[in-house]
Amino acid sequence: MRIDCKHVWGHISAYIDGEVDAAMRAEIDKHLETCEICSAVLDSTRNVVVLVADGRVFELPAGFSARFHARLDTELKLANS
């Protein structure tokens, strides 16, 4: 049985995470060999996931850590006094 594009799209996230079973993975791989749309959808989704995960996208505000620990220091001293 050949799976269709919609079926592949429904499994893309699990496919990227390596969470589809062997039989489904084989079906998807076979489909990807001949479907340039699904290949492009998979590659672009994976690319988006990698870019979003980059530490440079979300950075803590400047001085966050220093203020965080200074406040903790004050509270710790209060709690222990």
């Binding site: 979003v52 509270e75 710790l76």
Partner: protein, 209 residues
């Protein structure tokens, strides 16, 4: 994300509870980022998220004796951060009912992705361009909250499915479904815009930007 180290954490907690309070800084440091972005995702305001992050750390310290070790320390910390954020939203009267979240979750079918016939990889080096980072942040901030949290913990903080489910108080199945939809929404939103960030020809990336 800093990888959790259960032995270090357990040792720290024992010593802190025995009176070495100063060690709490080292214990909580690896969680700072995750605490802040969890709260930023809920509160959508930098100053308030920062204040709530500090309050969370204080609550963690004061409740440290209640940590049972049946989940990871960071997971437990993030549940406290989430409660802190939800408490603030309730106080401000801006929290939507949970049923609304559930409804959003149920009503959505599978998303149709942005249809492309080829894809040129956008390399991580392209993030040196400020507008790319801004575009990615805007797309994530534009996701419904139930999807934004899952992307934040799974893809940005690289937590596993189980840890994410525990921190958000949802099932592992819900984590997977929401992550799938979130990624589909991000692909649909971002793929057409990312084209301009791909190198024109292999090897010439540094040359054209």
């Amino acid at each position: 994300m800093t990888a959790p180290n259960p032995e270090f954490e357990a040792d720290c907690i024992r010593r802190i509870l025995a009176g070495e309070g100063e060690l709490f800084h080292a214990l909580i440091s690896p969680c700072e980022r995750a605490i802040y972005f969890m709260l930023m995702s809920l509160l959508r305001n930098e100053a308030e998220a920062e204040d709530a992050a500090q309050e969370t750390a204080i609550k963690v310290y004061l409740n440290l004796k209640n940590f049972r070790g049946d989940s990871q320390f960071r997971t437990w910390v993030l549940s406290i951060a989430r409660n802190e954020g939800l408490g603030r939203l309730r106080k401000a009267g801006t929290r939507r009912e949970d049923s609304l979240d559930a409804e959003t979750d149920e009503q959505t079918g599978d998303y149709t992705p942005a249809i492309l016939t080829s894809w040129r990889e956008v390399p991580s080096e392209a993030l040196e361009r400020q507008e790319l980072g801004a575009m990615l942040r805007k797309a994530i901030e534009g996701l419904p909250e139930i999807y934004r949290n899952v992307v934040l913990l799974r893809d940005i903080e690289e937590m596993d499915v189980r840890e994410t489910a525990t921190a958000l108080g949802i099932t592992e199945g819900a984590v997977k479904v929401r992550l799938h939809r979130a990624r589909a929404l991000l692909q649909r939103e971002l793929a057409p815009k990312l084209e301009g960030f791909a190198p024109r020809k292999k090897g010439l990336f540094g040359w054209f930007k």
